[in-house]
Amino acid sequence: MSNEVKGSQPSRRAFLKGAAAVGGSLAGGGAAMAATPDPLIVEKQPWAQGTGDGVDATPYGLPIQYESDVVRRNVEWLTADTISSINFTPIHALDGTITPQGCAFERHHSGAIDMRKDDFRLMINGLVDTPLVFTYEDLERFPRENRTFFLECAANTGMEWAGAQLNGAQFTHGMIHNMEYTGVSLRTLLNEAGVKPEGKWVYVEGADASSNGRSIPLEKALDDCMIAFKANGEALRKEHGYPARLIVPGWEGNLWVKWMRRIEVTDQPIESREETSKYTDTLEDGTSRKWTWVMDAKSVVTSPSPQAPIKHGKGPMVITGLAWSGRGAITRVDVSKDGGKTWETARLANPGQPMALTRFYLDTTWDGEEMLLQSRAMDESGYVQPTKAMLRETRGENSIYHNNCIQTWWVKSDGEAENVEVS
């Protein structure tokens, strides 16, 4: 045990500081020259001499301690308590497109419940030929699908309607995650029960005290919805609806009922609490839009951003972010460094997939000057992510939900960034 490697702190920072100073003076002259040999290279390090952890040190691994700041965060003043509340994905610190379940944002209405697979029952009733009850085991016997989708809470960026408010991409845009789901299509399950011709809607509800019931048009239910039991290859985490949740691709997260227990085929929408008093969007004249299910195309620069400032000084850098649309695949993302005066098209890490997160990169050079960084997404329907001014013009400032405006980060000459609104 005694010669095992523990985290040690060689004078790496001091060295880097020296290197940066040298690099600065050689800007544009290719790779910098070190003034003194790097102790990390010329001195024998403990990890190169001792041994590391054996297998099974952590039967289920967590991120290394140096990444312990990459966690979900809550904005306490938003809600009365943490049971009916929301937290935020640390999107500023992630890359790629898949969100690990352990840091994917949570939204509960009566808390995350603890349900064993054995206690799971899924009922289909209402306007069907045969009302049915499935166990968890039954679900695993239907033909399975694997599909990747983003889930965005309709309230994502909702605090920013009236102006720049929260200082960090995690807080302004972190009510989103993107996972690969394994499950059974809702169509398969509904066919099993046999939908009667009068059936026009499904009412879906969870087993928790809130039930979070929502009405979904039958057309969508038969199109691409799924009951998922795995995410990113493993069982759903408790906070994401273990043992099974509903997947409603491209539509607002509130419809993705967790701890699913019932699907009722009806001839009318139920107009539950979650689809009348909440998740309706009040316009400037006081009328409100309802059934605003689709998530509009949206994007955000995740780095640099307030929680991910530029630390390396001027020179080559990567500007990166995420883009998504509930209407299909992302086809293009443009980035502006001057608050929207001029735009350049970013590189998509992979071709956009329908209703899934798309990662974009702008490989660029920073001249050390201030930037007003923005990104603008376009999807396959031709929709272009609007400015906040355009949104306010049609919706006013009281919508709460569906704020998909172009975000601005003011990156200062010291590399720090701030959430701002621009003219």
């Binding site: 099993e192 621009v422 003219s423």
Partner: protein
């Protein structure tokens, strides 16, 4: 042996053939029983489909609301702290900060009944009788000046209640109202000048990261599977297990505002660990009413007598307490919940 096995096989085959296989499907699952459907199919549609028979008056509702709802929603449904306001806000929907309540915003009364019946009270859902739900719904209507104080709501007259904002909704029209969002975007010389008009740092409402940094210093230890299980905590005072169990149930009424246990935090009400026998108004970090604080400064403690008096009728014990809970009617409940609180020491 073989005979009975054959019989079983035949029976199984018959079952499968008569089941959902007829629809040309997988034959998985089983038919839901009427009792099972009745137990779960609780939703109520705007046209009243699903409403149970029953009734409740505003007058009874006032008491029921005080007992089950007021601790979060206020005695007059005006809301406590960040908990939802259920009354008021009429004609505010076009204002800068609209107040959306049952009266000012909710388009259908069925939604209120449905939600109260299946999800309230917070922490003890589905514990109310249908008549109690009618009472509470009637009282919420009354709090919004939508019915008179002698009103009685029932499944008979349910659809006669006019909700003020019933006509206030339109179906999603983004495809037409925002059709101009589908347009080739500008790439160069898109505007003459750009000014910063608002800054998040000026507003300064972003949470700071104290907890996370602290945990970064105290690096997480890998789980040690060989470590012995912690010894069960032995209480010094012998507590009555049956009473404890009952107390835990009663405590559900308190849970929306009060927490106990290792992870307890101050909520709408203070942490209650070790509260029995503790000085009044002394839980660290909780903002008490002036009256409660003054009582504590006089040296009063939460002994059995004070606790019983407070839990019987909080506002009688201390008129200006912040706790807007009507009180526990049954002595046995008070005894049980006190026992439960004793089981949560410091």
């Amino acid at each position: 042996m073989s005979k009975s096995r054959n019989l079983l096989l035949t029976a199984t085959l018959a079952c499968v053939a008569a089941g959902p296989l007829l629809a040309g499907t997988y034959g998985l699952g089983r038919e839901a029983l009427p009792e099972e459907i009745a137990a779960w199919d609780l939703d109520i549609a705007p046209d009243g489909t699903g409403l149970p028979a029953g009734s409740g008056s505003v007058l009874d509702g006032e008491e029921t609301f005080a007992e089950f709802c007021a601790s979060c929603h206020g005695d007059f449904a005006e809301g406590v702290d960040n908990w939802p306001k259920l009354a008021g806000g009429e004609d505010t929907l076009a204002d800068k900060d609209p107040l959306k309540t049952v009266g000012s915003y909710w388009p259908y009364l069925s939604t209120t009944f449905d939600y109260v019946r299946r999800s309230m009270p917070f922490g003890n859902a589905q514990s109310l009788t249908d008549d109690q739900v009618y009472e509470i719904t009637a009282y919420i209507l009354y709090s919004n000046d939508l019915v008179d104080e002698d009103f009685v709501l029932s499944n008979e007259n349910f659809l006669e209640v006019k909700m003020p904002n019933a006509g206030g909704f339109i179906v999603d029209d983004r495809d037409t109202a925002e059709a101009h969002f589908w347009a080739e975007p500008c790439m160069e010389n898109c505007k003459d000048s750009v000014e910063i008009t608002m800054r998040a740092l000026v507003l300064d409402v972003t949470p700071q990261d104290e907890v996370v940094e602290a945990s970064a210093e105290a690096a997480p230890q890998p789980a040690d599977a060989t470590a012995p299980a912690p010894e069960p905590v032995v209480e010094e005072v012998a507590l009555d297990p049956a009473l404890l169990k009952k107390g835990e149930k009663v405590f559900k009424k308190c849970k929306a505002c009060h927490q106990v246990g290792g992870k307890a935090k101050n909520k709408t009400g203070p942490i209650l660990n070790g509260i029995v026998g503790a000085p009044i108004g002394a839980v660290e970090g909780f903002k008490y009413s002036k009256a409660m604080k003054a009582l504590g400064e006089e040296g009063a403690v939460w002994d059995d007598e004070n606790l019983t008096a407070f839990l019987t009728k909080p506002k009688k014990f201390l008129k200006k307490t912040k706790m807007s809970f009507a009180g526990l009617k049954k002595e046995a409940d008070i005894e049980a919940v006190t026992e439960y609180l004793k089981s949560h020491g410091n």
